[in-house]
């Protein structure tokens, strides 16, 4: 690489960057490349992709804007950050939608090539913001990226369309220069991704370098920045997205238990990636079945679970609604299945690509009859691995359906992950049986109240299961009223006893005090950041984040009453809040947001501040 022109370098702790452009501008790709590079460099980070539900929204339109936010730091990072310090706007629509979030005096990098009269009109700018005082408060770097890229690719004989596709790499190169980075990770990436298209590797590499060298030469940027490496625990790390971690967690549980994984599902945003990932791991004994609909997805895993495999399905709210009846069949037939809900904005089709936590009630109560099942929630992208592992372990050990709640934010977000040693993952104990002597298919005489798993193909243990009420032990059909009462109680107790396996509830902060912030799922990062800040200021505050929503940990009640007040932030209208109030009969405060976006730490912090004065 050429020698770098010396510009002063400034060291900073934390940066938030947002890339915004048309859905065709490759913003997700650009963001992911910068993320990968940042992870390898050694900063802690969290990302937030945000894209429209339309695959090819009309070019230049406001609703077609796609963005990717990334926060990286030398310190621990729990969220993708509040407002960006740097905004890269590839077109007028991207600028229009995101300018309001940019911090005062923040850096604004604009591709001027797309600021045509047509695009300005589509983005509803009355005047060209590049020509009036709209951007006066920001440090603006205007570049005609298309022109720069076209010049760089001039001798390659590529079409204008192909060349224009590389402008995002120019922006990426400029940011690499700005943050003192090496370009190698992206060049390597092009070589793998475009293996069969050497001209595309060349075009992207040239565009990337053009952006990088542009930074060196222009006057407008006077300094580069460096964010020192974060302090991580010793170990091997990789950057990982939530859905990817989740798929790995499922495979890990399958490998650990020796029970093959059977995944049956139907494509739905934002859960489809789980199916995509798993379909690549056939050599791990993973079977994937893209069913004709959501119902067939879950029904196929019930069939597979009856036949001795670990059944898993994944969907989002509307798909989960369709699976409700089959979940009830899973409850009454006591089969080991995991139902994953990557939650999105509802009701109905709602906001398919945006995040929400509004399916907790659906997970808890969304079935006919008394049909309790275990519910657990993942709290961050990398935590999806452990949550998935736990869900599978629970399903197999207790012979019960388990619902695993994730959400669009953590599913598509990413963060560095310390790769666990697979040998240190917990063992999974099964209740598989193959001795026909005294076999009773509904024998619950054990501490976990699990049913023996006698698999079709095993001689002498032929038995029938199904959706009609069954006699305890024998599993014969029963309409007996006392037996029904007994079985309803038993199925409830079967879920309740799972709590016996929980460790003591972890409290961040002091046991007891003025305020407890209680959360679940993907709000973890925002809550932890806000509570951290309040603790630094000396506030009497603590944070509990629930992994288990059904059953609750047994010690939760006693912990809650140690605080004067309990604040429950949720991306819904207060579903956990309602469950806590009804179970523990305590007063709580609910902080709600349903905008299809995650909480920012400052939203939670200001709510904390209203409760704890001074």
């Amino acid at each position: 690489m050429t020698t770098k022109q010396q510009k002063p370098k400034e060291e900073i702790d934390t940066v938030v960057i947002r890339f915004a452009g048309d859905s065709g501008d490759g913003m997700q790709l650009t963001g992911n490349q910068f993320t990968e590079n940042t992870a390898i460099f050694g900063n802690d980070l969290t990302t937030l992709p945000d894209y429209p539900a339309e695959i090819r929204a009309p070019a230049g339109s406001l609703f077609g804007v796609s963005s990717f936010q990334l926060k990286f730091s030398k310190n621990e990072v729990h969220t993708p950050g509040d407002d960006p310090d740097v905004l890269v706007a590839m077109n007028p629509a991207g600028l229009k939608v995101h300018l309001q979030d940019l911090t005062k005096h923040g850096m604004l990098i604009i591709n001027t090539a797309n600021f045509t009269a047509k695009n300005l009109k589509l983005a509803e700018w009355e005047q060209n913001p590049l020509e009036d005082d709209t951007l006066n408060e920001y440090r603006v770097i205007k570049v005609d990226m298309n022109k720069m890229v076209f010049n760089a690719l001039d001798d390659m004989g590529l079409s204008t369309k192909i060349m224009a596709r590389s402008t995002n790499m120019f922006a990426l190169g400029l940011l690499y220069w700005l943050y003192d980075r090496d370009m190698k990770s992206s060049v390597d990436h092009f070589k793998i991704k475009f293996k069969s298209k050497p001209e595309i590797i060349e075009a992207n590499t040239r565009a990337l370098k053009a952006g990088f060298y542009f930074g060196e030469t222009i006057e407008a940027i006077k300094t580069t920045y460096s964010v020192p490496k974060a302090k991580f625990e010793k170990g091997t790390y990789r950057n990982i997205m939530g859905n990817q971690a989740l798929a790995l967690g499922l495979i890990a549980a399958s490998q650990k238990s020796g029970i093959n994984l059977f995944f049956g599902g139907y494509p739905i945003t934002p859960a489809s990636d789980i199916l995509h990932y798993l379909s690549n791991y056939k050599h791990f004994g993973v079977k994937t079945f893209q069913a004709e609909d959501e119902i067939a997805g879950i029904c196929s895993i019930l069939g597979a679970a009856f036949c001795g495999q670990l059944g898993v399905t994944a969907s989002s709210g509307p798909g989960i609604a369709l699976k409700g009846e089959a979940m009830g069949l899973g409850v009454i037939s006591e089969l080991p299945i995991v139902i994953i809900n990557v939650q999105r904005g509802g009701p109905s089709t709602g906001l398919p690509t945006k995040t929400e936590q509004s399916d907790l009630f659906q997970a808890m109560y969304g079935r006919n009859g008394e049909a309790p099942l275990a519910v657990i929630a993942a709290q961050s992208p990398s935590d999806c691995f452990f949550a998935a592992f736990e869900a599978c372990k629970m399903a197999l050990e207790y012979m019960t359906p388990v619902i695993l709640l994730s959400d669009g934010y953590i599913a598509n977000g990413s963060e560095p992950w310390k790769i666990p040693d697979s040998n240190k993952l917990p063992e999974i104990q099964l209740r598989k049986v193959d001795n026909p002597d005294n076999f009773a298919p509904y024998d619950h005489s054990n501490k976990k109240l699990s049913r023996p798993w006698a698999i079709p193909g095993t001689p002498g243990m032929e038995h029938r299961i199904g959706g009609l009420e069954k006699w305890d032990e024998t599993g014969h059909v029963s309409y007996d009223s006392e037996n029904h009462n007994h079985m309803v109680m038993l199925r409830q107790e079967k879920v309740d006893v799972i709590a016996n396996s929980f460790k003591e509830t972890e409290v961040y902060g002091k046991e007891g005090g003025e305020l407890l912030v209680l959360g679940w799922g993907g709000t973890y990062g925002a809550i932890r950041s806000a509570v951290q800040r309040a603790r630094v200021e000396g506030k009497s505050i603590a944070h509990i984040h629930l992994r288990n929503l059904n059953p609750f940990p047994r010690d939760l009640g006693e912990k809650l009453v140690k605080y004067e007040k309990v604040l429950i932030p949720e991306l819904n209208l207060g579903q956990l809040n309602s469950m806590i109030r009804s179970k523990y009969l305590i007063d709580t405060e609910s902080l709600n947001k349903v905008e299809g976006k995650p909480f920012t730490p400052s939203e939670i912090y200001s709510s904390i501040n209203k409760i704890i004065k001074g």
């Binding site: 597979a304 036949c307 002498g460 032929e462």
Partner: protein
């Protein structure tokens, strides 16, 4: 293999009869079907523990409880999906679905067409009584237009499905029809199903003596059945009637019935060919024609790769090309970096 089977004690009907009381209405056609299947299953050469019977909801769907095999009585319409998961989990199993016209063609229609399209090696026995029995007598998707029932006092407005045309149109590789009253024929068809690799679909006409009694009377009554049943045999001319005096002929693009003797000889009569799908459609389409006999037997049979076999192949190919998966390697895939203290 065969030695083991020979020396093993022979399975009997009793081995396939569960200890549960059968709770169908007295006189129901389901009894005959159950009894015949309990008799035929021991003859199929499949170990009892390898049978799995899956059902949905409806009178016929109680079937698994009465079979002393592995069984799964599931939810309305979903048996094909559950059975598919079971078959894919353990391809060695002999998987049978007991379903009804409502379960299979109404609430479960979507699963039915897709299991047929995929050619899962699963056998579907559809007990077709052209009525909803368990909900006490509403018209079903195979009830005739204008059917007067509790929910259609002025007659139904629904045109019925033709089950075999639907199956053929969905890509069925085995499509057959039989009757509860013709137990010998039923037994033969069960054996043919068992031999077929792929989805077998059998439309079993079954009498509901409570809500739709006599729906197939013409087909089963001794007085009329010679004239109304066209019993299909592969490679044989399609003759029927008292003394086999009639036959089916293709006139242009229409199947017609002709009398053998003066104008037509046996050489003019169509020869059944189970592998001819167009012919299968012709036969299926005459089912509801009151002037023509009803085809009984195997209309169509074709060997085609099954979904379950192809999945097994893909799995073993992946294992061969990538080697057996190593979890630690998997977790460390992609860009990784080390942090040392």
């Amino acid at each position: 293999m065969s030695q083991v089977a020979d020396t093993d004690q022979k399975l009997t009907k009793k081995d396939f009869t569960s200890d549960q009381d059968v709770r169908w209405c007295p006189g129901c056609g389901d009894y005959a079907i159950l009894s015949q299947i309990q008799k035929i299953f021991p003859e199929l050469g499949v170990p009892r523990e390898d049978f799995l019977v899956v059902s949905g909801i409806g009178c016929s769907s109680r079937f698994p409880y009465y079979m002393n095999t592995y069984g799964f009585h599931s939810i309305h319409g979903r048996a094909p999906a559950i059975a598919s998961g079971a078959k894919l989990a353990n391809p060695k199993l002999s998987v049978w679905i007991a379903t009804g016209d409502g379960d299979a063609m109404s609430i479960g229609g979507n699963h039915l067409i897709h299991i047929l399209r995929r050619n899962m090696d699963i056998k579907i026995l559809m007990f077709n009584n052209r009525i909803y029995g368990l909900t006490k007598g509403q018209y079903s998707p195979t009830s005739e237009l204008g059917k007067k029932t509790k929910s259609t006092p002025l007659g139904s407005l629904d045109h019925p499905f033709n089950p075999l045309s639907l199956a053929l149109g969905s890509g069925a590789t085995f499509a057959a029809r039989t009757l509860d009253r013709e137990i010998k024929h039923l037994g033969e068809i069960i054996k043919r199903c068992n031999e077929h690799k792929g989805t077998s679909f059998v439309d079993i006409y079954q009498n509901c003596n409570i809500y739709n009694d006599g729906a197939f009377f013409d087909l089963t009554d001794k007085e009329t059945k010679a004239e109304t049943q066209l019993i299909l045999k592969d490679g044989q001319p399609m003759v029927y009637g008292v003394d086999q005096s009639k036959g089916m002929r293709l006139n242009g693009s229409k199947l017609e019935s002709v009398i053998l003797g003066k104008d037509f000889s046996i050489d003019d009569i169509l020869v059944h060919d189970e592998s001819n799908k167009s012919l299968a459609f012709y036969l299926s389409e005459i089912t509801l024609d009151p002037n023509l006999p009803t085809p009984i037997g195997v209309l169509y049979k074709k060997d085609k790769p099954t979904y379950n076999e192809m999945m097994v192949d893909q799995m073993s190919e992946a294992a061969k090309s990538k080697g057996k998966g190593d979890l630690n390697e998997l977790l460390k895939m992609g860009h990784t970096w080390e942090v040392s203290e």
